[in-house]
């Protein structure tokens, strides 16, 4: 069987995106088992952010957005939280963080490394979540947590950025350079 180069590439791309989505689902599940909320309510490691950032780096904006949306949708279907508060918080934080990361990645590509992009993204993840939470519970008291969440976002963002940096460097180098 002979597949031409274009078909081969598009099949490979589809498979990699599917793999990233499933890795994201597992990471999301794993991080929900790590208790962080006792430090600040709502604090997360943001491990699932690795895959959307990775898709953004490997393929581009469209694919990154696709991975993010599929991950959040499938995750909420599996956990049974579709169209509940959890889902809204997750998707609003994810979208805002993804747009912030793309902005930094495309507009200031030469300046910021992936770690800076990731820290920026995780900060905006928290901001997006808190804005949605404010809409839902309608009490400005919730912004009390914002500075603490932002402080937490820096170390977790650095961690996510390092993981993405090493993974993408490996995938884009040597014999793996097929993207």
């Amino acid at each position: 069987m002979i597949l031409d180069g274009y078909l081969m590439k598009s099949i490979q791309r589809m498979i990699i995106i599917a793999l990233l989505v499933s890795i994201g689902l597992i990471l999301h599940f794993v991080e929900s088992m790590i208790p962080m909320s006792f430090i600040v309510p709502g604090a997360r490691l943001g491990l699932a952010n690795i895959v959307s950032l990775l898709a953004l780096v490997l393929y581009g904006f469209k694919e990154g957005l696709l991975v993010l949306l599929l991950r959040v949708l499938l995750g909420s279907f599996l956990a049974g939280t579709f169209m509940t508060i959890n889902f809204y918080l997750s998707i609003s934080g994810g979208l805002l963080s993804f747009f912030a990361m793309s902005l930094l990645y495309y507009c200031f590509k030469k300046k910021f490394s992936l770690i800076g992009v990731s820290v920026f993204g995780s900060t905006f993840h928290n901001i997006g979540q808190l804005i949605t939470a404010y809409w839902i519970i309608n009490n400005p008291g919730i912004f009390y947590y914002l500075p603490y969440l932002v402080l937490m976002a820096v170390p977790t963002g650095i961690g996510v950025g390092l993981v993405t940096y090493f993974t993408s460097r490996y995938l884009l180098s040597g014999s793996y350079r097929r993207f």
Binding site: G42, S113, V119, N139, F143, P147, L151, V154, I158, L162
Partner: protein, 137 residues
Amino acid sequence: MVMEKLDKYLNRYDKFLIISILLLGILGVLFSAVFFKERAEMVIIIRDAGGKVKRIPLRNTYGEEPFLIPVDGPIGISIVEAYNGRVRMKKAPERDPEMVCEKTGWIDQPGPMIICVPNQIAIWIEKKDAELDGISW
């Protein structure tokens, strides 16, 4: 050691971004510590037999002399005393058989409540802005 290793992967724009986010976070913590403390002010609430409510901010009770508040009820006048951030029932009416409210003693935080059943008086302390109980997601 960790910092030196991390230093290899960060350029100066990253460092600038991270430091400015950290600074904003610290400023926010300081700001909210001041801003929300004022909002979380405590008030003494005295509710009498007629359902009338008297509110006294807890910080107004500091002074040389204790505040004595007479409260009218079906069996007489009860005297509530507020002093240096605490409140108690100083004197229940003579006709009160058990004087439970007097025996309750001082309260100084939200939670416990002084109740005088015969005279239908309730005294408690609450946060001025006590809407946000808790959140989880």
